[in-house]
Amino acid sequence: MIHAYQLVVLIPYAAALILVAVPGYRVGAAANVAAAAATFAAGLWLVVGEGVVSDYAIVDEFNIVFIAINTLVGFTTALFSASYIGHEIETGRLSPSFVRFYHAMFQAMMGSMNLSLIANNIGVMWVGLELATLITVVMVGLYRTPQAIEAAWKYFILASVGISLAFFGTILIYLAGQPALGEGVPAMTWSLLQAAAARMDPAILDLAFIFLLIGYGTKVGLAPLHAWLPDAHAEGPTPISAVLSGLLLNVALYALLRFKMLVAGQPAALDPGPVMVVMGLVSLIFAAFMLYQRRDIKRLFAYSSIEHMGLIVFAFGMGGPLANFAGLLHMAMHSLTKSGIFFAVGHIAQAKGTQRIAEIRGLSVTHPRLAVVFALAVLAICGMPPFGVFTSEFLILTTTFAREPWLALLPAFGLLIGFGALLMRLQDTMFGEPVGPAHRVSASSVPMVLHLLLVLAAGIFLPPVLVAWFQRAAELLG
């Protein structure tokens, strides 16, 4: 009997194998959507089903949040990419054989991310994340332009170094767990490590956490280690930018949080909270200032992703049920909104034939419907009510204010700076004399509208079931 948690990994991998052999991009795109839909269904089944703890897999209240977001956004991105990629073939930026490769890689990446999320073994989790990273490297270089190759190379070097350091941290965790759990597989198993956290060697645990924070922190895009992120977002195909921002950063964050739970379980080890608070704040404020100098629209939103990941890491660093709840909620809202924005940016780039902000003017005149959706999405990510991002940002700031009034000023300051920059750029693109070409957009607008509606719904009314679910997850985080 195959269980749902096996399906979320097996369906994408099987689909990848099949998609390699499927000629013709229309069939391939349809199969891609079908596979993503099946994975999403399996994800939903997991949400309503029972938790699982086996030797190699774990499904609990905490990672199910991530799996749900992952499969949902994977599905909508597949929908978006089906219509987007057709346009890329028509304009000759991609050849059909590349698209076949692209679809197979997309599924393999989804499978690897899901593998990383359900793994109950710190080694397997690392392997999943590494595979997903390597696949995205290839995807970022897909257009084969000099810029794309530079971006992919930079991404590859930084991500490999990060992931190597994370692996060293993983080995150290194993060593730290050995005195309590003995040799072999048990000392690499989450659930067992978690239970034995208090008996782990605190000194090795400290060292391990530093390596893990730097290693996985590179993948999350935390400030001094973020250099790969804007380039990788800007040069790859837009659906990949959406998946990078919306999902891959989350998976890395998930790994980091799991280890934080471990370290927090050993009172003699260092307190991971303050370290994460500092790194989060540095990323948030740094990225907010960097937003002002961006001239490429995808880079702009890539920096905005760094900003929000900083805020999320800050929230989890603060810890406690309320801040964790707000952090989780913000992560979910950011995933949905940011991938929605990237869908809209994909439309805009196709409509105007450029990603340069200076050459995108007067959208409200030439593409009124697209302009409205894009403007709403940008306002949502800025944290304007009534969208869900407002709710989560408000929660993060108020809970910080209640505990450390002075500390709350810093994230508030960073968010305001970022808000100003995004609003300024939004105005640039919306109004003024239209310049340059104005093509008709063929890509489907269903995914971005759907994301925006979900974020709006969450902002207006958060169903009690969802609240209770996130609360349980937040409690697990401690």
Binding site: N121, G123, V124, W126, V127, E130, L131, L134, V137, V138, G141, R144, P146, Q147, I149, E150, A151, A152, W153, K154, F156, I157, S160, V161, S164, L165, F167, F168, I171, Y174, L175, Q178, P179, G182, E183, G184, V185, A187, M188, D201, A203, I204, D206, L207, P230, D231, A234, E235, Q293, R294, R295, D296, R299
Partner: protein
Amino acid sequence: MLNAFAAQSITLALAVAWAAWSDDRPDLFITALIALTLKGIVIPVALHRTVARLGIHREVEKVVGVGAALMVGLALTGLAQALVLKVATGMASHAREDLALALAIILLGFLMMIVRRNAVTQVVGFMSMENGLILAATGARGMPLVVEVSVAFSVLISLFVFAVFVFRIRERFDTVDLEALDRMRGDGR
């Protein structure tokens, strides 16, 4: 340089094989075999061929001078030793040494990636880091083989990715010197 990497990999294979024999863990022989064939022979030969085909023997550009790089390398090795010896007080002495050595190799690989601006040397630096990781993994007694095999596997994939990129970089820029890449900043700063 490539020969040094091959020698490092073969030494690693020997170390792992010795660990397999002395700890009586036959599964480690597989790891040793992978290190020997893949990293000791296949990858260096493949890279030698790449280098010969691209004709880039004389293109090794350094950011820092040899002397300075050597000093930094020494300092990093010392740091690794001091750090591990201080932290890992509760471990068996040979495991501790293993870990210290592994950390030193990782940091040196890191250093190599930073001071050489050439795509091929960065590849070698990265794989040297991976060697350090495998040493650390075998030094940790009883770490499951699953992980080691997958590391070897991922190294293989990385090589593939590297190869693709090295060729593409060559194709686009007529050089594998990464300085050429730095001219292309997509953001037009």
